[in-house]
């Protein structure tokens, strides 16, 4: 069937099918109405499972074969081990050795360590990736080398897609820092403790076959269980499922960069003047150095005002844990622990609650947590004058990042993007973004070192800040200033060959990523 291209509600050209499956164009925020029913996996029976609950099989190879590994199946992994993951590589080594081809890899996120999978993308073991194509995988995709079209989804979009049957997972492989022989598994303890396993929840519930791999088998029952053994087919024991020193990666210290500290300070200052920091408020920040600084400054404000947050959202880290332990917040609702203090707190403190993309982000649920957050502080690679933002490609057109929870967090009551006005003399604020990941109407405030732009739709914020001494400016004037300093930004040069698509939180296509023109 010929692929047809249509302009979606964001003005971007998107295909009506991807890898042979029909797609809906993005219709706008809260516009698309899904139909049909959620996916139900095949009904199984206890007849076919050992009555003593022992599901251990000799190794991952046996487990994959028993789970029905064959040409073309979709295999999922999760990213709780981040850059220390040892499982994805093994899966595709086995598949390659057995000669299986055209597999689809559906990770919840990919990391630098996964660049070794490029050879399997090259030789046809893996057909394409649905999830995220980070770093070298992104470059590989941007160069038009992946056989299929990559599909980028947010964390919530991944849950939505699996739940709705849009992304059917044949075999889920869940690496677990602690598990019993029945498959109950948890992530907050053991030599490779990583915090929680929430990103594997959809896979455990909806995949046809589920394999738990652990290096820390404990006698039944493994309590608490974040993954339920009743969803698990096979358990594999290995010596090591992740590299502990790389499991907890990412920035764990507050930035020392004066520019970034300035942005963080201005963000918190803005929130205070906008009246957002109230007793019982809530916020979510990311994991980078600037975000940590924002969290740190929020804590200072709470201490100063002698009030507390009702909850803060993780990615948790030692700064949030300190807030919890100091009584500056009632709860951490955590989607992913970023350091060992986060892991310890989750294990020890009942008010450090593990969540999942279902509770936090799934747009095809009966609400989710993301829209209930007062302030979300996020990043972006580019922002346009309509507040649309990009997080997946750089201005040179190269795909380099996954979406993570970014799209989902845009639904917060106030979404703030603190960004430098330019990076390496390339403007961040510009007429048009290379790829639209988030519609401008959900992005409320842009904070740069040279001024703050409030989305004109947020007349309430504009009103509240009208007496402020903060440098409130129009986004146009920020863009102009960037251009004055850096010159008119070059547009990335693309071929007409699509290499990936970006899904919106409701499963519709918000943008297309094109092969780079390297001529």
């Amino acid at each position: 069937m010929a692929v047809n291209w249509n302009k979606n509600a964001a003005g971007r050209l998107v295909p009506d099918q991807v890898n042979g499956r029909h797609q809906h164009p993005y219709e706008g925020v809260a516009k698309y109405k899904p139909t049909g029913n959620k996916y139900g996996s095949p009904i199984v029976s206890c007849n076919d499972y050992p009555s003593d609950g022992n599901k251990i099989v000799p190794d991952l190879r046996v487990a994959l074969l028993k789970a029905g590994l064959r040409d073309g199946v979709t295999i999922s992994t999760h990213h709780h081990f981040r850059n220390g993951d040892l499982i994805a590589q093994q899966i595709f080594d086995i598949a390659h050795e057995l000669g299986f081809r055209n597999l689809i890899w559906a990770p919840s996120a990919s990391f630098d360590c996964h660049k070794t999978l490029i050879r399997y993308l090259e030789d046809g073991t893996i057909h394409h990736i649905e999830g995220s194509m980070n770093g070298a995988l992104g470059e590989f995709t941007s160069m038009g080398k992946m056989k299929g079209i990559g599909i980028l989804r947010s964390h919530g979009g991944r849950y939505q897609a699996i739940q709705d049957g849009e992304l059917h997972i044949d075999i889920a492989v869940i690496a677990a820092p602690a598990a019993d022989a029945f498959g109950n598994a948890t992530g907050d303890r053991g030599p490779t403790a990583c915090g929680l396993l929430g990103f594997a929840l959809a896979d455990s519930r909806f995949a046809d076959r589920v394999i738990v791999v652990t290096d820390n088998l404990i006698p039944f029952p493994c309590v608490p269980w974040q993954i339920q053994g009743n969803d698990v087919d096979f358990v594999v024991i290995q010596e090591k499922i992740g590299l502990p020193e790389k499991i907890v990666s990412g920035t764990t210290e507050i930035t020392k960069s004066p520019d970034r500290l300035f942005l963080a300070d201005m963000t918190v200052h803005f929130c205070e003047e906008a009246g957002l920091i109230q007793d019982g408020f809530s916020f979510q920040t990311g994991a980078g150095g600037t975000s940590l600084a924002v969290a740190h400054y929020f804590a200072e404000k709470l201490r100063e005002k002698q009030i507390k947050a009702r909850f803060v959202r993780g990615g948790s880290n030692k700064f949030l844990v300190r807030m919890l332990e100091e009584g500056l917040t009632d709860y951490i609702l955590d989607g992913q622990t970023f350091d060992l203090e986060g892991v310890r707190s989750m294990r020890e403190n009942v008010n450090h609650v593990n969540t999942s993309p279902f509770t936090s982000y799934n747009y095809h649920g009966k609400g989710n947590f993301a829209s209930m957050i007062d302030v979300a502080v996020l990043g972006a690679t580019e922002i346009d004058i309509n507040f649309n933002a990009n997080v997946v490609t750089h201005s040179d057109g190269m795909l380099l990042h996954g979406i993570g929870g970014w799209q989902n967090c845009l639904f917060a009551k106030c979404t703030i993007l603190p960004v430098p006005l330019f990076r390496d003399r390339i403007p961040v604020i510009r007429d048009e973004v290379t790829t639209i990941c988030g519609p401008g109407e959900l992005i409320d405030v842009i904070i740069t070192e040279r001024g703050i732009a409030i989305n004109p739709l947020r007349t309430d914020l504009i009103e509240r800040l009208k007496e402020s001494n903060l440098p409130i400016r129009s986004i146009q004037s920020l863009k102009e200033e960037a251009k004055r300093i850096c010159g008119r930004p070059e547009k990335a040069s693309f071929t007409k060959n699509p290499v990936a698509v970006v899904k919106w939180v409701d499963g519709t296509l918000i943008d297309t990523i094109w092969q780079l023109d390297t001529e």
Copy 2:
């Protein structure tokens, strides 16, 4: 379509349809192979839910109407409030007042307090019950007065039926002792704390619309959440959702009856001689006085042998809590708390774990906990010489009890039924049971005050007990002795009119319950 009747693998006559839906006959233990996929409820969207997470509506009437209350819909409730439930009555009062008819009530269990619903069964507001028909509701059914055919399911069978789409729930109403406005709910705290809400899990996941009713609204987030707000449509606040003094009902003291104490003692004695009480073993007993005594004696044995259980299954009560706190068991895996000590322990002790019919009992899962238990001690109204047992009808043919978790627990490694040889001069052990609820091949040991019968299939147990001084006898000789004392038992007299069916754990029909012949 004409209903056809077939003899199933238990030798019982069962219909090929019930209330217009096709049915499978029971094929034997572990014989029926389900096909098809699990039920997926309609895909919903955050578009249609308040972004601030506030789902409170003025009252239950409004919630029911918004949830689509109309003729013929199936409404579910759960039984965590046991005989103190105030919600089912309200639902059907509202439905009656609004003139809706032919509703199906799908409670997870019914209690004496629900006999007031008989008038709605009489006037056509309620067409039939799927769940349990206890006491007066059972009598009503046995007299042939219910409009439709009642369907009896075990706790696990209820989960299976809902999951598989065999029991479609239009509207689930979940009474919760603590909840937030988003619908996150828990049962272990608040003025009407009842322990856990696991029996409502299937409903929350698979019902089209879910209403949470609480008398204890707490600010978001309600932590822990046993029911996830992401599954909930509406929240209703009431002054009182249950009668605290009746919520925790059932026998909470060890029996003082010498006969029952003797049975309990003999049960534990048997387990010891059979080598079942080992370090790391597990057991499950029910809630009655004899069961409490068995648990108490098990604890004594563990203390004496200086060993401990790995886990015990609740219904929890103060005896199990004492075991946990004394270090005689690592965990309580609890399906239902039976007293306030159980509730307190569940709230305070992370090793007192709440479970659900999904984890514990669902036969259409990838295994469940029930088959991993070393010893299950259960009751029965009747047992036949092939070890088949009955728990729903009495020997006079009257339906009086639900199945509860009884069928599911039969999958334990050793299932023991301590029963008196006769009750009120009516033999418990007899040639044939009035209703087969559990196949004899899963029932290992019958313990009576006059002797112990081991199922001939359990040659291992027979071997282990062959030097025992315990009064091991054949079940035939026990039956004969009962007959000598009580005379030949009269058979219940039935009409040819079916009034209810009993499902096996896999959704097949194991028996039919017939209208009593009262001529």
